[in-house]
Symmetry: D2
Subunit: 382 residues, 4 copies
């Protein structure tokens, strides 16, 4: 028999919020009662389109509603900390978009409060939800890769590759002092530590603002969309691209390349882990449901299978040979979070969701990388 | 503002039925009120797991319920016609799994009744829902391919590759006289006629039962799952593999290879259309969100983009560079079907869903192929 | 110590002849003394460019020269038989380009004479020389594939895709009654029988002349090159494309698609062999040094390694991870032919070259396919 | 008419020397008169196998022979400088394997002497010979990529991935203070500067000896081969892997990953250049005859074509759709070197070969990277 249906409020009406609504429903554990937005019209329209019963501009309406169990924080980066703290104070479980805060201290305050209140606090590191990422983690854990020698990869995008591209993420006031590293680098970092079970000890970073001046539209622009209407020229102080070198606790070394200005690369996430026994490689754009596994004398392709699926309360996994894609990955990151709330212990590799600790780590990483880019030296993650 | 929420009943509790439930909800146009199953326990358990309010073993309960607008027929092939006819008689719109009937005459009866009753009757040719399949169709229509010269492809699976593999589809009483051609060949045929806008006039087929005798478990086996428990040896009279050659109305020729016994091929659907101007190639397993487009002097890769998405009442399409996969394709086949019911005219390439006519065509194709395999000659689709 | 250096004369000055010259030298067993061409100027220029000591327009000069051991017949299809017979009569070993004759009877006469004269007679089925083709053959032979169930593939080109493309191969007088089947289909057929160790018993073929009328230049056009100068419109009576279905001796079935008018496909040769144990797939354009090997529970990629190399008298094979390509394949088809002449027994899978028997088989196949395309029925290979 | 045939002596009898012999012959400009080896038996056997007329252990025999025009230095790294200087003093042109010397000073001495003597001095950066590398360079030069923003790639091997793997390159006395960076990194660096026309100004490097202790066989081991017989344990002081970050003259940044201990990676060379207009990506193992070209709104695949070929005095380039591979690349690096000696001006992108200046740059790069790995700071290439 299925468990009690949890009720969520989703804060935010941008690109990602509706995907949270759908993913919550698809986990089988929850539904959405309320959309909270800063603009009334957008909030109402968003709720109607997604058939969410209510919309509001008052966060308090969500926090004061005893039927609501979970708050999803999908608003702009600069608001994550305050909303999360308020939600935890109100006794709500929280799932917050990445980066969970603007700096490690903020993240630490959020984590501490969640622990104190004994509430679940999760971070939306979506890529953990891909079946072959969980398989990759298992391969590392069961010794199939051996001692990790070298990790490499990157996250390449092109949606900001023109000087006419603009989005609130470009503004350091709203989005924080780092862009490429915070926005896509934090995803890569979490993926890497999740898969390898390693800890990055020190980083060296080189960053660059390839487009130092952009056309800012006077009206708002949605993520991934083109600006329309009059613009004003602004100076940009956050990085478009970064190269980061890492030293791992086990002695291995790692490298990642991050950019939001590489034409033709959309969401090109790659991760390659080379160990003393074999090498694994994953590539989001070329086939996220495959894992290349190289050994000295042969290479294998591992393909997603039903047994890699997360135990959601829904349909059986899609058949072998087809994909559940990014939307499936988001669902499978939320599923263990919701399961944890209702006390369901999930089997296998999917017992856990990305916690506040992981969210903190990612911010500490970005902070250290910013420091290194400035000092020209190795910086410790402290 | 969104339209009235349509209510559906889903008949069937096997592998595919829950995917219909989820896809209906994700279209934004509908929800599911009732699960109808032949076994009470399975029906109740299925409904609970999917949080569908009610379950029954009585089809009449669905047909007699005026709040129910749509019936999804996801039961075994042999039952499709009778359930569909009953549902149409009761004034319900019907979405039926493929093959829509056991033979073309049955399909014709269903189509005629739907027309008479002015009800929507759709067939679940899921692969039409892939964004790059719609793009492929557009390329053919706008002249980018030129006159179609040669079409080729196939549908290869391995889930019946061992003599110990068994499923009700192996039994010609329950599933019809054709297996590989009816089960996966009908998908390929529909995809081909949909993309190329061609009509197959004549077919030549060679079929083969590579595993003429199988272990049938005394208990039921779900699709794609392994049998457990005691078995009995049975003779198999439906084909495991087929090669079909086709003559197209425009003068072009075509070929497809179908098998359910090819180790390592899971759902390996391929379609290549070669014309006087360029060639397009699509491959489900290697990357359904890409289309290879070859010209004399260069090749291009076209990638899924937001503009390829179907206009569902839900989240915006997933970002460029990631996939919505098979579950997204199923949602996008149902969306225009539901939209048609509420009278919403969808823009662009997605104005239509696979209709009864397409379902009939597929059965006529299988029938002609069976005749050819027996006669060793070309047979007309009549 | 190395063996006596064999001396060859190469008949022909078109595209392929110089590649024979180079491949002969690279085997380490031979060198070229003489170029024989129909046009003096071209023969001299070809010899100079390739640093071959002599050139002539008289075949007799080659046949009468006792220092010459081998004749390579690289002239137009229609001349293969007469030149080969004359060379064999003169006591020369012969390596002839495919198709070895215009019909099976001609090929049989050539084979008979070679046997009578105890001379080596080889056919240039170049693709056998790819290392992973030899590996594929070994996999079939050692049982790794199991009983062959289904074979499929094709050979797709685009160099004749425009009505303005012309070459002597288009003319049935010079090139024979079949074009796509004789020119590229014979390659595919040989590759298939070589890899699978199967014998095709019956064929069904559908052929089509997609471009029934072409611009023939008044001047000669080299293979793969564009025509220049005035042209005349001619009717074409050989096929541009063909689909062939086959029944194999073991009971398996096979299919191939052949075309010379598919834009973007250059030399797109594919071969997929599906058996009761596993499936292997090879693709010339996408990576000839790889073999995909699919099993029920996983897929492997086998890569060319040094141990796959033919034992030429030259450098060690290129390192793992890089290719020796088409030129290497040609060298490795000639190597066992030359080794056989000097009586060297080569180890492993490369003990043999494509013999007259294989060349005959390919012509019998084309003949049966032509008959079937005309009769609309299965035709036996007799 | 063809030019005078140049005569070469090849110094060395290891893995690469025979490939030089073959490539020299295939250029059409030269042949080999003499093999010079440190071991008489190996030299004689190598010469016989390759049908080179003479063998010697005396370098002087080559230097004193007026019929010899060119010396190829294929001996161990530590001997490159002295042999090259002696050959230049003797008035011979020299083609030296990389790294051209053990340090930049040695390389500078070699370059200076070649200039003084007005002799050609080339370095065997083989990868420049791939057709699509030349095409990539053209794309950068003609503005198709735009301003270079980010360059990334690497060179991954596995032939030293086990502690039991050994080769003279592991010994810093014979091979120099750097291994992965000097051996494969110098290839990557040259390729990058060649393609991008950029100059690396500063580097930051992190290196690691993943296998600090190896089994050294008491007998010699050939490159890429396994050791046989008794071994002794030795400490290794050269790096197995390295990550290098670069600042380019134009303001762009770059990154490469180098390893010889990554299981399953054979000669995995990758290069991705991202600019303000488009991004190009090349991958040696996955398909060296293709170039991925990404733009904001679409991606293209460029394929090798005849027009990319180097103008050798031999056969026409292999047909479209097939490869000439690594052996073809080596030939096409030697062709412009030999052409330069006879004063032939080659057209197009292939007018030049990798000169001493390029060889020096690679050593300066390795030297700066070693310094950075030690200082933990950016180091200038001076």
């Amino acid at each position: 028999m299925s468990t009690r249906l949890l009720r969520a409020a989703v804060v935010g009406t941008g690109f990602i919020a509706p995907h949270h609504v759908e993913a919550i429903r698809r986990t089988g554990y929850g539904d959405v009662s309320l959309i909270v937005g800063s603009d009334r019209e957008r909030a109402v329209s968003c709720a109607e389109r997604l058939r969410v019963p209510r919309a509001t501009t008052e966060l308090g309406e969500a926090l004061g509603d005893p039927s609501i169990d979970v708050i999803h924080v999908c608003s702009r980066n600069g608001t994550h900390e305050s909303i999360t703290l308020a939600a935890l104070e109100a006794g709500k479980h929280v799932l917050v978009e990445k980066p969970m805060a603007l700096d490690p201290d903020g993240a630490a305050r959020m984590a501490a409060l969640a622990t104190e209140k004994r509430l679940q606090l999760g971070v939306a590191f979506t890529y953990r939800g891909y079946p072959m990422i969980r398989r990759a983690r298992s391969l590392v854990r069961d010794g199939s890769i051996g001692a990790v020698r070298l990790v490499q990869g990157g996250y390449l995008q092109d949606w900001l590759s023109e000087p006419t591209d603009y989005n609130w993420r470009v503004d350091s006031i709203e989005a924080g002092r780092s862009r490429a590293m915070a926005d896509v680098g934090s995803h890569w970092f979490d993926l890497m530590e999740f898969v390898t079970d390693e800890r990055v000890m020190e980083v060296f970073a080189e960053t660059r603002t390839a487009i130092p001046s952009r056309q800012r539209p006077l009206n708002d622009v949605a993520t991934y969309e083109a600006a329309i209407g009059p613009t004003t020229q602004i100076a940009v102080d956050t990085e478009d691209e970064a190269i980061i070198v890492m030293r791992l606790a086990s002695g291995g070394i790692a490298s990642c390349v991050l950019t939001q200005v590489s034409p033709g690369r959309k969401n090109h996430v790659t991760l390659e882990v080379s160990g003393s026994v074999s090498t694994l490689a994953w590539n989001l754009e070329d086939g996220p449901d495959r894992l290349w596994l190289g050994k000295r004398n042969r290479a294998e392709i591992l393909q997603r299978a039903a047994s890699d699926a997360a135990p959601i309360l829904g349909p059986d996994p899609a058949p072998d040979g087809v994909s559940e894609g990014w939307t499936g990955a988001m669902r499978d990151v939320l599923a263990p979070f919701y399961a944890a709330i209702v006390g369901v212990v999930l089997p296998g590799a999917i017992t856990s969701y990305p916690t506040a600790e992981a969210g903190c780590r990612a911010l500490v990483f970005v902070e250290a990388a910013l420091a290194s880019a400035s000092s020209g030296r190795w910086e410790s993650l402290g």
